[in-house]
Symmetry: C2
Subunit: 137 residues, 2 copies
DNA sequence: AGTTGACTTAAAGTTAACTTGAAGTTATAT
DNA sequence: ATATAACTTCAAGTTAACTTTAAGTCAACT
């Protein structure tokens, strides 16, 4: 029997999110069916952990909170909206593809800049001629 | 002789940024030495184009405007701050590495979700049993 | 029994990154 | 010459995503 109820503090630690954010997500409808103890404190379950993992993932993919709300609503209306879901996912997938390629480009840019400034540093130390950025582009 | 002066409109089109954003960047110090025509309109040069390319790149790498301002200031103070620059770049490089790996993870998540919902769609059309998400995780 | 600390709500506040508006000047088209 | 379009400044407004505050309840320790 794996543990299946968590306090807000545990969830907060687990996802490195302030408790206020968890309440905020709940208020927006991203976390549903959060139960309470007899003294009104929140109890989270495994399904919330999974939901939060999904949220992290989608956020990393650049989804806005609005979009997330929409997505989980679609998922609940198991009914018709599969095309809506697929549409949203497909669009997001394409966005992530461009983001990935942009980010790889900037990663290379960073690497070049680092090499360039390391070379400058070297040159200064050894009193050698200062390199030119144009040679690193 | 390659063209080397651009109106705000041209730059705006080139980078798909509203003119207001270009003025804003200038106000923040991201774009320096923007000259004016006799009638006070901005003239941009090749160096601004390059700067904006760098800005795009760094922004894709997740740098905030504040950080960009700081970076370009360091770059100007050719003097001592090479360690500061390298530090900033190195930190950013590491951040980009985790972002990249997170984003790749979410990309896979998206792909799985798409497969899953495509399968549901298929199943509905052909009146077959509805697949379970657990089989796709 | 009293204090400390973790929780609760609801509302107001914050921050980043723009964006818009108002009011004025200059440039272009008819 | 006159309308309209493109620029200018400066200040105020917007949006997303939280975050903080105030005021209260409840549980746990000493």
């Amino acid at each position: 029997m794996t543990q299946d109820n968590f306090t807000i503090k545990q969830i907060s630690a687990l996802f490195d999110l302030p408790a206020s954010t968890l309440r905020y997500y709940e208020e927006l409808g991203l976390l549903e069916g959060v139960e309470r103890t007899s003294s009104n404190q929140r109890i989270y379950h495994q399904n919330h952990v999974e939901r939060l993992n999904a949220i992290q993932c989608f956020k990393d993919a650049g989804m806005s909170i609005q979009e997330l709300v929409r997505f989980f609503q679609y998922e609940k209306d198991e009914a018709g909206s599969i095309d809506d879901i697929l549409n949203l996912l497909q669009t997001r997938k394409e966005l992530v593809e461009t983001q990935l390629s942009n980010m790889k480009k900037s990663y290379k840019h960073l690497q070049k800049k680092i090499k360039f400034y390391s070379a400058i540093k070297e040159a200064k130390i050894n009193n050698k001629p200062i390199p030119k950025w144009d040679d690193y582009k």
